[in-house]
């Protein structure tokens, strides 16, 4: 049933149909309306036997879900920015304990300076935490990825936390017509959570034991192996979802017109729509340009990325975050995936802290790279001239 709803609701509705057992909530802009929508459903008895709890902090919310998940519950929360990094100690711990917590991160910049607006700095900080991460381009994609997240996180071959990244404001606050899922469709796709192990007095197990040096490394190998297995499990879930719903969002990546492209532009998240628009216009003008949308960020689809870029002469990454002291975090991954290939490499950080990215900026950056007007390497997008106080 198609309905015009905000990005928040596209998540909340989908979460409801996934029948979570425990939802932990803590407000933060621009996530709050997700947990508000869920609270309303809870207040109206629409969440079945689910326990909805208001935590004392994001740290508390994530910790509540650790306990709930270990006890065998399907769990959900949403957060972003300062909230996500406050949760980070818990989420990294949950990954190590192999707890399939699902969360939505409404991407927002990190302080300082304080910014409530969108970029990808928050989720990038969690890059090495052991969470699966995907980025969505639209609210329909966000809506569709919630059941996929639960299915993959809870797969016995995987058992890892799953974070769906959706751009704050750009998606969360946007009204879009969404083909809202029906319960039956989700039930067909997503079985009830059947934890391989959980806390029960019937079979008392120890969770979160400490590992001296003779054991620790094997746990980390197991985590890495789970991430490796998650590639296939995730890809299979993407395909199955496309079959059931008729909406195919692609695999780990979506490559458009890369086969004959001299220049391939790379993007994650909501910016992709505009990059695609510019690319297709340039193609119509006869320019050999292509687009690579990265959907899965962890596990990183290095093989697929390399395959899509093998013939490119120039690679251009639109970054939404910075790894200070190095460059753009997506570009770093792309470069490592392309090791041994010899394309020119360009990376531009745009839209930091919600800075508007006008179409002209995308056009300018692409044509500057296309015509060789800029040096290779990492750049910032449009920045005003300013005087640094500490120099």
């Amino acid at each position: 049933m198609e309905k015009v709803v905000r990005g928040f609701y596209s998540i909340a509705h989908s979460v409801k149909l996934c029948k979570p057992n425990v939802i932990a909530a803590y407000p933060i802009t621009p996530q709050t309306e997700i947990v508000e929508n869920l609270a309303e459903m809870y207040a109206n008895g629409e969440l079945g036997d689910c326990e909805y709890v208001t935590a004392e902090s994001e740290f508390g919310a994530a910790s509540i879900l650790v306990g709930a998940s270990a006890a065998g519950a399907r769990t959900f929360t949403a957060t972003c920015s300062q909230g996500l990094i406050l949760m980070s100690e818990v989420l990294i711990n949950a990954a190590g304990m192999r707890l399939p917590i699902v969360l939505v991160n409404t991407n927002r910049a990190l302080s300082a300076p304080l910014s409530i607006w969108n970029d990808h700095q928050d989720s990038m900080v969690l890059r090495d935490g052991g969470l699966m991460q995907i980025h969505v381009e639209t609210n329909q994609e966000a809506h569709d990825m919630v059941p996929v997240a639960f299915k993959v996180a809870e797969d016995h071959k995987v058992m890892l936390p799953f974070m769906i990244n959706m751009d704050g404001y750009k998606l969360t606050h946007a009204y879009e017509p969404i083909d809202l899922l029906e319960q039956e469709m989700v039930d067909t796709f997503l079985p009830p959570y059947n934890p391989p192990v959980y806390m029960t007095t019937k079979d008392p197990l120890t969770f979160g034991s400490y590992a001296p040096p003779q054991y620790y490394a094997e746990f980390r190998v197991a985590l890495q192996n789970a991430m490796e297995r998650a590639r296939k499990v995730l890809e299979k879930a993407y395909k199955e979802w496309a079959e059931i719903t008729g909406r195919d969002w692609g695999g780990h990546i979506v490559a458009e017109g890369v086969e004959d492209a001299d220049l391939v532009a790379i993007s994650m998240g909501s910016l992709t729509g505009m990059v695609r628009d510019v690319i297709s216009e340039l193609r119509n003008q006869g320019k050999k340009v292509g687009l690579l949308k990265i959907r899965t960020f962890r596990p990183f689809p290095a093989k697929e990325v390399r395959g899509a870029l093998k013939d490119a002469e120039k690679i251009l990454v639109f970054e939404r975050a910075v790894s200070f002291g190095h460059g753009g975090p997506v570009g770093m991954e792309v470069k490592s995936a392309c090791f041994g290939l010899t394309p020119e490499f360009y990376s531009f950080a745009v839209g930091l802290g919600g800075r508007d990215v006008p179409r002209e900026e995308i056009v300018r950056i692409i044509s500057d790279v296309y015509y060789g007007k800029v040096d290779q390497g990492f750049h910032f997008g449009t920045v005003k001239p300013f005087e640094e106080v500490i120099v």
Binding site: D49, F59, G60, T201, P204, F207
Partner: protein, 291 residues
């Protein structure tokens, strides 16, 4: 199988293990344990050597209150409440300092959780650093005795009042010196729906500088001097105290412990001892401890 041990690596005479065993036995093992990082966790949860015979989880240092709340919610949602009680074991630092936020949240939402604070009055797992529950004058590695300072300056944080102020249905202190009293309190807590807080005075052999055989003696003297009142609150009302027949001067308690020994030599020691005696007198008056 035992609820706790064999196989733990605690020091001989450790107060924590005495307290833990008594709590688990009072609950007849029908419980889910959330344990914060600390001595108890380290001595009992090593991979392949877990001493726990009950379902057990250790997540982080500062989140046992929230983890327990999550277990409580899951059991409710999954209709498994009958399986057992949710119990936290957390040290004094995990409770009164780093984890007080998640503890307060758990109290505030009144989860059906028995929170046991194993109070050995410092961060003993890292080697005796001061916590909010370290008493005045104690020599710790972060409040060392020097020319200027005779150990920790400042009082022990009143966690009992903080717990009572949350309006939770049951708050008590207990001591490893009084097993029957401790077990009675745990059993009573298990009968009450909602958040429960029991703070158990649990001497630390290494941190306090006592002999392994002096654990019970030390805990008993803390009670007999009124430095550690044994009290019980139900629904915010003080309902029971453990009366003291012949209250002893605080020196009796202080002199047997290395952490207080400097008070008998340091130029400011006398003043600290008199302040500690004043705290004990105040406790005795507040709770009407003297027979």
């Amino acid at each position: 199988m035992n609820y706790f041990g064999p196989g733990h690596g605690a020091c001989p005479g450790c107060g924590l293990t005495i307290a833990t065993r008594n709590v688990l036995e009072a609950l007849e093992g029908k419980c889910f344990v959330a344990n914060s990082t600390g001595c108890l966790e380290i001595v009992s949860s090593q991979y392949e050597r877990s001493a726990w015979g009950v379902p057990y989880i250790h997540s982080l240092f500062e989140n046992a209150g929230a983890v327990a709340a999550g277990i409580d919610l899951a059991l409710k949602a999954l209709k498994r409440k009958g399986e057992g009680k949710v119990v936290v074991f957390a040290g004094d630092g995990a409770t009164a300092d780093i984890g007080i936020g998640t503890l307060s949240g758990m109290f505030d939402r009144n989860h059906d959780v028995i929170y046991i604070c194993l109070d050995n009055e410092a961060y003993q797992n890292t080697g005796n650093q001061q916590s909010g529950l370290t008493p005045l004058g104690s020599n710790t590695t972060t409040t060392p005795v020097g020319e200027l300072f005779p150990g920790k300056m400042g009082r022990k944080k009143d966690m009992v009042s903080i717990a009572v102020a949350h309006g939770i249905p049951y708050v008590a202190t207990a001591s490893v010196a009084f097993h029957a009293d401790l077990r009675r309190k745990v059993k009573k807590a298990a009968e009450i729906e909602g958040a429960k807080y029991i703070q158990i005075h649990s001497p630390c052999v290494t941190g306090w500088g006592i002999d392994g055989k002096q654990t019970i003696l030390s805990a008993k003297l803390a009670y007999e001097t009124a430095l550690y009142p044994i009290v019980e609150y139900e629904n915010g009302e003080l309902t029971r105290v453990r009366k003291i027949k012949e209250r002893k001067p605080v020196e009796e308690y202080l002199k047997i412990q290395r952490r207080f020994r400097h008070l008998f030599k340091h130029p400011k020691g006398k003043e600290i001892i008199s302040m500690l005696q004043k705290i004990a007198d105040e406790n005795a008056a507040k709770f009407n401890l003297d027979v």
